[in-house]
Amino acid sequence: MNFLAAIGRIVFEFLQATGRLGIFASTAISHMFTAPFYFRSLIKQMMTIGYYSLPVVGLTTLFTGAALALNIYEGGSRFNAESALPSIVLIGMVRELGPVLCGLIVAGRVSASMAAEIGTMRVTEQIDAMVTLSTDPFKYLIAPRIIATTLMMPFMLVIVADSIGVLGGFLIATGKLGFNSGNYMTTTMDFLETVDIYASMTKAAVFGFFISLMGCYHGYYSKGGAQGVGIATTNAVVSACMLILLTNYMVTEMFFSS
C-alpha cells in the first residue's frame, strides 16, 4: 500500500510540476508580446547570451569539426570513401553537431547563470521588491531573457557554430589530409541545401527557448537560500539538456523523415 502511495505521490508531483511549468511558459510567452518592453534589458541579455558565448561556442565547434574530419577520413578510407569527407562534415555539423553542441554549451553557460541570478533575486526578496515597485518580474526579468536566447541562438550562435565547425574540418582536410582547398569548398557548397540551414536554425531557436525557459523557471521558483539556488541551477541545466536532446530528435524527424 505504501508502495502504491509513493507512486501516486510521484505521479501527482510530476503532474503538478508539469502544470506549473505550463502556466509559467504561457505567462512568459504572453508577456513577450505585450507592452511595456524593456529594450535596455533585452539588449543587455542579447550581449550576454549571444556575444559573450561566441568564444566558447567557436572553440568547441572548431575542434569538433576537426575531430570529425579525422574520424571520417580514417573510417572512410576502409571503403575508399575518403572523398565523401567534405559532405559528411557539412551535414554532420550543420544538421546535428552545430546546433546540439551550441545548445548544450549555452545550456551550461546561460541556463545556469539565469537560474542562479533569478534564484538569488528570489531568496533575497529582490523579486518581491520589484513587485512593490509596480514592475512585473515576468516583463522585466523573464521575457527579455527568453526573447534574447530564442533570437541569439539561431541568428548568431548556430551560424557561427556551423561555419566554424565546417572550417575545422576544412583546416584538417587541407592542412593534414591532403585535400585540395578549392575542391573541398566546391564540394561543400554543392552539398549545402537550404533545408539544412532551416533545420539548423529551427533547432537553435527551439533550444534557445527551452534553455531560457528552464533557467528562468527553476530560478523563479527556487527557495531555501544558497542550497535552494544551487539545486535550481542544477535542475535548470539538466532539464535544459534533456529537452535539447528530446526536441533535437523531434525537429530532425520533422525536417528529414521521409
Binding site: P36, Y38, E117, M121, T124, E125, Q126, D128, A129, M130, V131, T132, L133, S134, T135, Y140
Partner: protein, 258 residues
C-alpha cells in the same frame, strides 16, 4: 483625519499546508498613522505584510486600502494599488545588478515616468534626504555597509512618493547607534511626507521611537492594540512578557506545550 481607515484588515486567514500562520487578523490603520506590529518569530508579522502588499494571497478575509477591497486584485488594478505603496525590506533587497541610483529610481524608470537623466537627479535628491552624499549614487549595492543599504532601501521606498510605507524589521542587523539613526530617518520621512506607515519589528527601541500605535500579533491573531504610551501598562500578560523580553510567561508556556 477621515474616519475611513487607510488600511482595514478583517478576518485575515492564511495557511501553509497544515500550519495556520494567520488565524483571523483584524486591524485598522488610520491615515497618517504609524502603526507597528510586534510579535515573536513565526507569529505571522511578515505574512500579514506580504498579504497586504499582494505578494501572498490570503485564504480568507478582507484587506481594504482607502475603502477598496484589494484581495484578488490583479493586473492594472493591482498595479494602480502598488503605486500607493513603498517598502523597506529587512535585508534591503537592493538589485545588485544595478547601481545605487538606478535602484532608487527603478520604479520611475520602469514606468517611464522620468528620463534616465531626470531619474538620476531624483535619486540623488532622495539620497540626500536619507543623509547620503551624491558620491554613493554610482556605487554598487555590494560596496555599501549594512546601514547604508538600509538608507538606500529607504530612499527607494520613498522615491515614488507613496501614500503608505511598509518597514520590515528596519533595524535588524544594525548596531544600536545606526539603528537609532534609521529610526530617526523613518520618523522624519514619515512625518514630513505625511504618509501612513506600517512597521513590523521585534526591536522595542524601534517601537518606542517610531510608533503612534502598536499591535501585538500572537499565534496568527492580533491580541492587543493600543497607543505607544499604553504599551508599558497594557495589562496583557503576552505584551508584558514580550516587551520585557522575559523567558517566563504565557508565550514560553505555549511553546513548551507545543
Amino acid at each position: 483625519m477621515t474616519n475611513t481607515p487607510k488600511i482595514s484588515i478583517k478576518g485575515l486567514h492564511k495557511e501553509f499546508g497544515p500550519k495556520v500562520v494567520l488565524d483571523s487578523v483584524d486591524l485598522d490603520i488610520m491615515p497618517g498613522e504609524s502603526m507597528v506590529i510586534i510579535g515573536g518569530s513565526g507569529s505571522g508579522k511578515s505574512v500579514t505584510l506580504k498579504c497586504i502588499l499582494g505578494l501572498l494571497h490570503p485564504d480568507r478575509g478582507s484587506i481594504k486600502v482607502d475603502g477598496e477591497e484589494t484581495v484578488g486584485l490583479r493586473g492594472k488594478n493591482r498595479k494602480r494599488l502598488q503605486r500607493k505603496f513603498g517598502m523597506l525590506f529587512q535585508g534591503g533587497a537592493l538589485f545588485d545588478s544595478l547601481p545605487v541610483w538606478e535602484n532608487i529610481a527603478f520604479g520611475l524608470i520602469a514606468e517611464g515616468k522620468a528620463t534616465r537623466k531626470e531619474a538620476m537627479e531624483i535619486a540623488i535628491e532622495n539620497l540626500r534626504s536619507v543623509g547620503l552624499s551624491p558620491d554613493v549614487a554610482k556605487l554598487s549595492p555590494s560596496e555599501l555597509s549594512g546601514g547604508m543599504q538600509k538608507r538606500v532601501g529607504l530612499a527607494r521606498a520613498i522615491a515614488n512618493k507613496p501614500e503608505i510605507i511598509f518597514f520590515d524589521e528596519p533595524t535588524t542587523g544594525l548596531d544600536p547607534i545606526m539603528a537609532d539613526v534609521i529610526n530617526e530617518l523613518i520618523v522624519d520621512r514619515v512625518k514630513e511626507m505625511g504618509v501612513t506607515a506600517l512597521t513590523i519589528t521585534h526591536d522595542m527601541s524601534s517601537v518606542r521611537k517610531i510608533a503612534d500605535k502598536v499591535a501585538m500579533i500572537y499565534n496568527g491573531n492580533i491580541i492587543w492594540t493600543g497607543s505607544r504610551n499604553d504599551i508599558d501598562h497594557s495589562g496583557n500578560a503576552y505584551v508584558e512578557q514580550f516587551i520585557h523580553g522575559k523567558a517566563e510567561g504565557p508565550i514560553q508556556m505555549d511553546l513548551l506545550k507545543a
